[in-house]
Each structure stands twice: as C-alpha cells, then as structure tokens.
C-alpha cells in the first residue's frame, strides 16, 4: 500500500468531515450518522461478501453481538465505554470466527452459507430476546452520561466525526486488503475456489481470516449504534434489517471495492428519504424500493454504481492493481 493508494480515501474523508461545519440541523446530522453506521456494517460485509464471494445473510449476528457486548459490559459490569467498544469489536470478531469455523469447515458455500448465517442470526435474536442478561424483550438502556470519556457526546457533530473516523479506518483496512496477498487470495477464492487451492491458497484459513475481520468491522458498527441511541433490543441488534442493509449497500454501491459500501449506503438512504418525502409516512415504502434496486442492480448493474460509472472508462484493477 502506497501513499497513492490512500490519497482518494484521505480526500473523501477530509471533504466529508467538513459537512457538519455547514449543516447544523439535527435531522440532517442524524441522517448522516445513520448512513455512516450502516456504511460501516456494510464495509464489514464487503470484506467477506464483496472480496471473498461468501454471501452472508446474517451479518446481524455480528452487529448485534457488538451492540449487546458493549451495552452489557457497561451496564452490568461497569466497564468504561471505550473499553466496552474494543471488547465489543473483539466479541463480534470471535462470533465471526466461530460461525466461520463451523460453516467453512463443513464446506458450506453459496446458498448453504447464506442460509446458515441467517439461521445463526435468528438463534442469537431469539436468545437475546429471552435471556436475562440482555434485558429480554424489553431491551436495555445505556445510562445517559454525556461525556467523551463515556463515548457519549452532547454534540451530534462530534459523534459524526467519531463515526467518520471509524469508517475511514475501515476504508484504510479495505484498501490494505485490496493491495495485499490476503486480498488477492480472497478474490481468487471468490472467482474459483478449486483453482485457488491448486495455487497454494489455504482456502479455509483465508476465509476464516476474512469472516473474522468482516465480523469485527460490522460489530464496530453495532457498538456505534448502541452508543448513539443508548438503547439495544433484540429486534434492532439481531434483526434482519441490518443483515439486509449490510448486504444491500455494497451490492448497490459496488461489491469488492473500497468505496462501494459507502456509496451504496448513502444512495440507499438518500433515496429512502426522498421516497418518504413523496409517499408520506407510509411504512415500508423505502425498503420496497431498496428491494427493487437490488433486483435491478443484479439484472443490469452487477458491479453496482461504481461499476456503472466505470464502464465508460477503461477497466480499473479491482484486486492486485
């Protein structure tokens, strides 16, 4: 990875960081923070799904584990919020490693892998909804104490910058993967697992590393969510909504690219807001639209928005370039 590889990231992040200086309404900042949270979850999905070609339908399992871990550690064990954040990421990564170990060792691929991740997320949801430590169906509140030491900020702009910093870190991580042997091997597995093996790629180890990283990033998004709303319940943390959004954003934006998940998350939510503007408060109209976009993207733009933008120009190298 060279400075040239990082330049686009630096420019994009710096420009985005200026936004709160011009936009001060809470509605817009709320919207942007939510987009960043979804983008971060999607960046996680993108590592495993976009680069590795292993489509998880249950990334809520990692998002929720991050959110619950940080919430439980703070409220039940009095752990500092920042430490809770780090441990939440670790817990999510661990959940990813375990689920990955079980599924990849059994040779689950394609639809089977999608199904098993979906089932794991549901198991977690039911457990969280019933267990005492998670507050059961009532969910749990993180105590309001607006101090930076508690990962709570009175100003939404500051929270926006923190979220942006995490998204930027994930961008750098993704770019690092793109430019590394690990990334090349991951893409090789996506394209043809057998051929990758023949070239000396330990496919199990590579996929395990991918799902662990992927789960860790998505768990960070879960922690962020918990810190922003200071509330977690099973429907939010382990609900299908986040599994779906984590997958939709990269596919709409451009799976297997660094910026795809961001562009996807922003486009989806911008469109969702516009739809709400026209259709009023009809529930589900934005998600129905997302569904249409997913079908349309698969049918007409398999490389997402970035792919569409690139079609007029000569091919850029996705992995080793």
């Amino acid at each position: 990875m060279t400075a040239r590889d990082l330049l686009p990231i630096a420019v994009a992040v710096a420009l985005t960081a200026l936004v709160p200086l011009f936009v001060t309404t809470n509605t817009v900042l709320n919207f942007l923070v939510l987009v960043l949270i979804v983008a971060l979850a999607a960046q996680g999905w993108n590592i495993l799904g976009g680069f590795g070609g292993q489509f998880s339908f249950g990334h809520a399992a990692f998002f929720g584990t991050g959110a619950y871990a940080t919430a439980i550690l703070q409220t039940r064990f009095g752990v500092n919020a920042w430490a809770g954040f780090a441990l939440g990421v670790a817990a999510g990564a661990l959940a990813g490693w375990i689920i990955g170990y079980l599924s990849f060792r059994s040779g689950l691929r394609g639809s089977y892998f999608a199904l098993v991740t979906l089932a794991f997320a549901e198991v977690f949801r039911i457990l969280a909804n019933a267990a005492e430590v998670t507050g059961g169906a009532a969910g749990m509140l993180i105590k309001l104490d607006m101090r930076p030491a508690n990962f709570q900020f009175a100003s939404r702009a500051v929270f926006f910058w923190v979220a942006l910093a995490l998204v930027a870190a994930a961008l750098v991580l993704t770019r690092g993967i793109e430019c590394s042997r690990f990334g090349a091997r991951l893409v090789a597995i996506r394209e043809n697992e057998e051929a990758a093996q023949a070239l000396g790629v330990d496919t199990l180890r590579t996929k395990l590393a991918a799902i662990t990283l992927s789960a860790g990033v998505t768990a960070a998004s879960g922690c962020l969510y918990a810190q922003y709303f200071l509330f977690v319940d099973a429907q939010i943390a382990y609900g299908t909504w986040i599994s779906v959004e984590a997958l939709l954003a990269p596919i709409i934006g451009g799976a297997g690219t660094a910026f795809g998940p961001l562009i996807g998350a922003l486009s989806l939510h911008a469109l969702g807001e516009i739809a709400k503007l026209f259709a009023g408060r009809v529930p589900g109209i934005d998600l129905a639209l997302f569904g249409c976009l997913l079908v349309a993207a698969v049918a007409f733009a398999p490389e997402g928005i970035l792919g569409l933008a690139r079609r007029t120009r000569p091919r850029l190298k996705p992995a080793a370039g």
């Binding site: 430019c179 590394s180 042997r181 090349a184 091997r185 893409v187 090789a188 996506r190 394209e191 043809n192 057998e194 051929a195 990758a196 093996q197 023949a198 070239l199 000396g200 790629v201 330990d202 496919t203 091919r315 190298k317 996705p318 992995a319 080793a320 370039g321």
Partner: protein, 248 residues
C-alpha cells in the same frame, strides 16, 4: 521425485483406478496417456491432493503426502493445471498469475514482478492487463500454465494443456513445455495429442479402464499390442500390423 504406490480409487461401486503405480524421475517429462475414461484425471486429482485414494500412497521427494491438502502440496512444490481451464474470470491476466506468485513472494510488488516475468515466458506478455475472461482458448491454456508455473514448482502436473488447440498452437506450445523442463522443473502430463506425447515425453504410462497396461519409452509403448487394442478395440493390433511382421 514422485512415486504413486498401488493407488486405487473407488466411487461407490465404480472402480476408477485399480492398483496403479508410477514413478516420475527428476528432470523428466513423463506422459500419462490412455483412452477417455481411463482414469487419468482422477489420478491427477489424487496426486495433486484434490481426491483421497481409497488405497495406496503418494510420495513426493520420499515424503508421504497422501493426506496433505492441495495447498500444502503446492507449498511443497507440486503444481497442477486443470483440463477444463479455471481462470479467475474477473481478474486480469497478470492478477491471475500473481495469485500463484504470491505463494513464494508475499509482497505485492515482488509477486507482480514475478507474474509479469512468467507471463512473458509463456507468451502472454502482451495481454497482462486484459481481463482473463477475454482470452481465447489457447490464451487460457497458457494462463493455466503460467499460474501453475508462478508457484515455482518442482513438479508440474499438466492436465491436457494441448487439448483443444489447433496444430499451429500446439507447435507454439510444445517448446514452452520443453523449456520449462530444461530449467529444472519435472513434468508429468496427460495428453490426447499423441504426436505431442511422442515428441515431448521420455517415458510414458498407459492407463486403460483404471489399470496400468503399459509403460516405457513412447515408441515402444505405441507398438504395444494391449495399448493399440485399448485405443482401437480388440483385434486391432493384428489388423493394423503390417503384413509379414513378427508378433512382438
């Protein structure tokens, strides 16, 4: 270098390989031929680690590798190509080859440099940045070869790299194979194109219906009665033998 000891492989009730042994000498080009369905690809898969034999052992440089997975064997120095080419379709030619080069060169710059070198070697120098999916059949066969070569193997398993090529493409490819051997890579190849086997291989094994029916120098093997009959049917040897010639 490579020794296969009494390899048998059964799929359910079907015996694909029955007590097959072979020995590939270092620095040689050894051929593995036989009619369709003889078990050549199965044997290749067993040697490369994609299948486990029902019985028998695979030894590589005197080391038992029978239970090693394919990626371990690649690390030890066994590389293979696939009969049905398996390019990473979404990647460029050089990226495809780099996946192989990464095995010995963890750093990206080194791997890409190595991949570029190998690409030139097999005649893909002009197509480095093209998507692999855009290559012709001949190009894909070269890519298959280049990727395997980029892992810097000691033993290269070539599964029908010449099949599907036209005569002029075969003429271009054969010297490439020979030059690889001349640089010290031992080669075991299966091939349908007999003319290529005759000109390239020093020693040939013949499989038919899962059994080894002949082995030796290509010329001698081609005159073997069992071999002719395996290819052309029972009685063919007698019919095709020039009148008056003595039976072997």
């Amino acid at each position: 270098m490579l020794v296969a000891e009494s390899i048998s492989k059964r799929f359910g009730g079907l015996t694909a390989l029955n007590d097959v042994s072979l020995n590939v000498k270092p620095g040689s080009i050894t051929g593995l031929i036989g009619p369709n369905g003889a078990g050549k690809t199965t044997l290749f898969a067993i040697i490369a680690g994609f299948l486990r034999p029902t019985a028998g052992r695979v030894l590589f440089e005197d080391r038992d590798v029978t239970t090693e997975p394919p990626h371990r064997r690649a690390q030890l120095g066994i590389a293979r190509t696939f009969q049905i080419v398996q390019p990473f379709a979404g990647l460029t030619v050089v990226e495809n080859i780099a996946v192989g080069a990464y095995l010995r060169h963890p750093r990206r710059a080194d791997a890409l440099a190595r991949a570029t070198k190998v690409a030139r070697r097999v005649g893909l120098g002009a197509e480095l940045e093209k998507p692999a999916a855009s290559l012709t059949i001949a190009g894909r066969k070269r890519l298959e070869l280049a990727r395997a070569l980029a892992t810097e193997p000691k033993l290269l398993l070539l599964d029908e790299v010449l099949a599907g090529l036209n005569p002029s493409e075969i003429r271009d490819m054969a010297p490439v194979v020979r030059s690889i051997r001349d640089e010290g890579v031992t080669i075991l190849m299966t091939e349908h194109v007999m003319q290529a086997v005759m000109s390239l291989c020093e020693s040939v094994y013949v499989l038919s219906e899962g059994r080894l029916i002949a082995q030796g120098a290509p010329q001698a093997v081609c005159e073997d009665r069992q071999v002719v009959e395996a290819y052309l049917g029972r009685g063919a040897a007698a019919r095709f033998r020039p009148a008056g010639a003595a039976l072997a």
